[in-house]
Each structure stands twice: as C-alpha cells, then as structure tokens.
C-alpha cells in the first residue's frame, strides 16, 4: 500500500506525460468497448428479430444418411425423441403428393390430428379438424386461397384428388380419391400455409403401403434449450432443422466478425501497452539516480521493479476507468 502511494505520488510529478498516456489508453479502451458493444448489439438485435418472427421452439427431425447408413424414423425413435427433456410434444408425419383434376399440386402431410395440434397449436380460420380414418383434409391458408380461386373448392366441399401410381414397368397411372375439405388453417407464415393435412391412417390406405415416417415435428418448452435438444437429436444420428439454424448462422457470422473486431481491440491494447512501456522506460531513464539511491538504502531489484510496475498498474487502471467512462458517456 505504501509502495502504491509512493508510485501515485511519483506519477503526479509527471502529470502531462501521464495524462497523455492515460488519454491514449482511454481512447483504446473506449474503442474496444465500443467495438464489442456494437458487435454484441448487432448479434442481439438479429437474434431478437429471429425470435419474434420465427417459431424458434419448433424442431423438424429428419432421417439422416451417414456413411451409407440411414437412420430411419421408427415408432421407437419417435418415443425416444418424445422422452427427451424439454420436449413437450412430438408429431411424426409422412409426406405425399396428390393433384386436383385441374393439376393443382397438393403437398400432403399425413398426421395424427391430436399430435400435430399439440406441436403446432393449430388455429383454424374456418371449419375444424378431420375425423380419424375419414377421407377428409385440412388445408393451409395459402392452399385454401388457391383451391378456392383456381378450383372453386371451399370448406365443406368434396373434390377428386388424383393419386399417381406406377406399375412394375414404371408406367404411371392416376387413381381418383374423393377428399372433403373440412377446415382451413389461419395464416402462419410458414410451410404449413401450403400443405394439406390428412389423417395418417387415411393417407396410408390411399397409398396402399406403410410409408414409415419422413419427419418428426418436436415442440421444445424453452427457446434457450433448443440447442441442447438439437445436440441430443444429432447425437442420435438424426438431422434437425428449424428456425434455430438462423440463430446459429447469425452466431457463426458474428463470431467471425467479432474475431476481426477482437484483432482490432488487441491492436489497441498492444498500442496502449506500448504507450505505458514508453512512458515507464522514459521515466526509469530519467530516474536512474533515484533508483540508485533506492538500491543504496537497501531496496532489492525486485523492490524497484515493483515500484515501477505499480506506476504502470496505476496508469492502466486510470486509463481503463477513463476509457470505460468515455465509452459509457458516448453509448448513453
């Protein structure tokens, strides 16, 4: 403490030089804080935008082929996914495609009504959910508009869907199936606006084969837990996609940017350090006599170094505080 006080007094004798050094360090520190704050601000803003515009807690799980081994989604896998912590609901689905007689393409999502509702929290613009086993379907908002405009199909109407099949030599043939549109979903601004949901058992009967699952939709209870759930899914050899990928992309991009920013910051720090070094070297050269006296009265080399380092420390602390205050004022 006494050494620190002595060092402080020593600094007071070179006020101008110390002030200039402190100013240099302060500008460097302010620049560092500013750069980091700017980078983190951009990152935070981007993530906030994604969170407000996307359904972040919805994860799509797909089979994945790795080294020629495909991890299929079986009922057991679905149960495994459903039992993951923070997963509140799971809805396995398979996809198919039909067409109307006027060749309007129908992207079919074969689901179980209660499961998909738990995951997607469906809101109906009109009508209601299909009955299990019935030849009924619910259309997304965009598809509903398209069917109404192009085909004149409204809620409650039954239409003929063309199901394309191929024989053993690959010749296509279309089978006609009557489907009733029993409901239309409200606009969601996602892929479900353009699909038709039908009961899984019905879809299997129409296709005549058990297709297995293409995708499992998972609902996670907390946006902060999404990445940990994704890690566990990929650990099972499955592929996970969703809005979280945008956050991951933003984070990766910002990490790269921050590395560049940090290089600038490092440069500023090195310059600050060099300024302190220059000041102290000058100071030490000017005080050769004083240092000699100090050693003559019994100080060791380490004692002298400690006195000089305390001065460096004080300059650094004052510069750091000044820089922080400067940046705090400018940010305000």
């Amino acid at each position: 403490m006494d050494c620190l006080r002595l060092s402080a007094r020593q600094l007071r004798t070179k006020r101008l030089r110390v002030a200039l050094t402190v100013l240099g360090i302060a500008i460097g520190v302010a620049a560092i804080i500013g750069i980091v704050a700017l980078g983190e601000g951009i990152r935070s803003q981007a993530i906030e935008t994604i969170q407000t515009q996307s359904d972040l807690t919805l994860i799509e799980v797909h089979p994945q082929t790795d080294q020629n081994v495909t991890q299929l989604i079986t009922r057991a896998r679905v149960d495994q996914l459903r039992s993951l912590s923070h997963v509140t609901a799971a809805a396995p689905v398979f996809t198919d495609s039909y067409a109307t007689k006027k060749q309007t393409f129908l992207q079919i999502l074969a689901v179980k009504g209660d499961e998909i509702d738990q995951v997607l929290r469906l809101k109906y613009a009109s009508g209601e959910v299909f009955s299990p086993g019935a030849y009924e379907g619910v259309v997304g908002a965009d598809l509903s508009t398209m069917l109404q405009r192009n085909e004149g199909i409204r809620i409650g109407d039954t239409f003929i869907a063309m199901v394309r099949e191929y024989d053993v030599v690959g010749m296509p043939s279309d089978r006609e199936v009557s489907l009733k549109v029993v409901g239309a979903l409200g606009g969601r601004e996602d892929q479900f606006d353009r699909v038709m949901l039908i009961d899984m058992e019905t879809a299997a009967l129409i296709r005549g084969t058990d297709r297995g699952y293409d995708t499992v939709f998972l609902r996670v209870d907390d946006p902060d837990q999404v990445f940990s759930v994704v890690d566990r899914i990929t650990g099972m050899g499955l592929e996970a996609t969703g809005a979280f990928e945008q956050i991951r992309a933003v984070n990766q991009f910002m990490d790269a940017i921050m590395i560049v920013f940090m290089l600038f910051a490092l440069f500023a720090l090195v310059v600050g350090g060099l300024m302190i070094t220059t000041t102290m070297i000058t100071s030490v050269y000017e005080r050769t006599r004083e240092i000699g006296i100090t050693m003559a009265v019994g100080a060791s080399e380490n004692d002298v170094i400690r006195l000089v380092l305390y001065e460096c420390l004080l300059i650094g602390i004052i510069g750091g505080i000044a820089g922080g205050s400067l940046e705090s004022c400018s940010l305000r």
Binding site: D2, Q10, T13, I293, A296, V297, A299, S300, D303
Partner: protein
C-alpha cells in the same frame, strides 16, 4: 552495535582498463571515525562503494565485522545495505517528491516496517539532527546543510553498524561543513557507530580519529 571493516588486497579494474584500486588493505576498528582522503580520482569513492556492497572488487576480499563479504551473493549484499550499512552522499540524494520525514523513513519501507513505526523512528532521528520542525518540508525547501542532516538521519534509520559518507560536505559552505562533521562525530561518540568519511579536504580530517590516504588507487598513509 559497532562493527569493524577490513579489506585485503582489494583491486578494482573497470571495463575500460582503468585501475581504480590496487592491493588496498585497510582495517577500521569498531567505533572508529576514519577519514579517507585523497585527490579526485584516487579511488576513494570506489573503495567506499565496494565496502558498502554497491560495487564489486576485481580481486581481493573485504570483511565486515569479521565476516567475509560474498560479492556474488546479491541477496546478502542487499541485506548488508538494508540493515548494516548507511550511506551519506555528497549530493544528499534525497528523493525530491518525499518530505524530510518520508525520506528518512524511506529505507524502512523495504523492511516492511509498519507506517506508524516508520514515522516515529523518522521523527526521532530528525529531532536528533535538529530538524524536527522541518519534517514536512520537501528537499527543495531545505538548505544544503539541512538536506545533508536529513541524509544523515536516513543513513541512521536502519540502525546500521557502519556509516559510509562520501564527501558529505562537498556541497556545503565551511560553517555547514563543520556542523555536519560535528553532528557525525557526536553520533559516532554517542551511538558508537563506525564512520568512514571520504573527503579531499584535509582540514576536515581533524574531526576524525585517523586518516587513510589514497593516491592513484594505492594506500600511501
């Protein structure tokens, strides 16, 4: 409290080839007040620096209180300077940013002596040299004689066995010089501290028990 110092064939040659000391063998008994005289460049200060552990000899040995000084043992030399030897310089060499009291207490900082104790000791010594009322003055506010008194007080603060004074009155008028010599002599007689005073003024040597004269690095008397 007192300690003698002895040198045996001390030789000091500088890197530029100049030989400052040649086979210097002297003995100073405990409690003696000895003047080391000689012209400028005769090797007085070099001898004093070697005896105080500030410099190292090229050859020869020095013994402090019968114990050989190991010039390779830097820690031992630091302890020697810190606890057993006090220095008084021609230029006073007070730290300009410290008050008289702080200058006197300065060596104790490196002994980790508590601040209160340092202040008490410093004031006691400033009283001894007659400067208790100037304790809070900075060196530039003191006269040359007063500064040297402060320097003497600083040399005494570690309770040393030996005080090495290098031209302590070189920058003082004759009246102040006499006062400083009287003060040192008083301390020598009362506290029995050994003094080796380097000077080139023969008349001041009259204050001393005896003189040792150096000429061109060799003891001549």
């Amino acid at each position: 409290m007192t300690a003698g110092i002895r040198t045996e064939s001390l030789t000091k040659q500088f890197a530029n080839g100049v030989t400052a000391l040649r086979d210097v063998s002297i003995t100073i008994a405990p409690g003696e007040f000895v003047a080391l005289i000689g012209r400028s460049g005769s090797g007085k200060s070099t001898l004093m620096n070697i005896m105080g552990g500030l410099d190292t000899p090229t050859a020869g040995s020095a013994y402090f209180d019968g114990e050989k000084i190991d010039y390779k043992d830097r820690k031992r030399l630091i302890v020697l300077r810190r606890t057993q030897v006090g220095f008084v310089f021609q230029q006073f060499n007070l730290l300009p940013t410290l008050t008289a009291r702080e200058n006197v207490a300065y060596p104790l900082l490196f002994n980790y002596t508590p601040r209160m104790e340092r202040d008490v000791l410093a004031m006691r010594l400033l009283t001894l040299v007659g400067l208790e009322k100037r304790a809070d003055h900075l060196p530039h506010q003191l006269s040359g004689g007063e500064q040297q008194r402060v320097a003497i007080a600083r040399a005494l603060v570690s309770n040393p066995h030996l005080i090495l004074a290098d031209e302590p009155t070189g920058n003082l008028d004759s009246k102040s010089s006499a006062e400083i010599y009287q003060l040192m002599r008083h301390i020598n007689q009362v506290q029995k501290i050994t003094f080796l005073v380097v000077t080139h003024e023969r008349e001041l040597a009259s204050y001393c028990d005896r003189t040792i004269e150096l000429r061109d690095g060799t003891v001549v008397a």
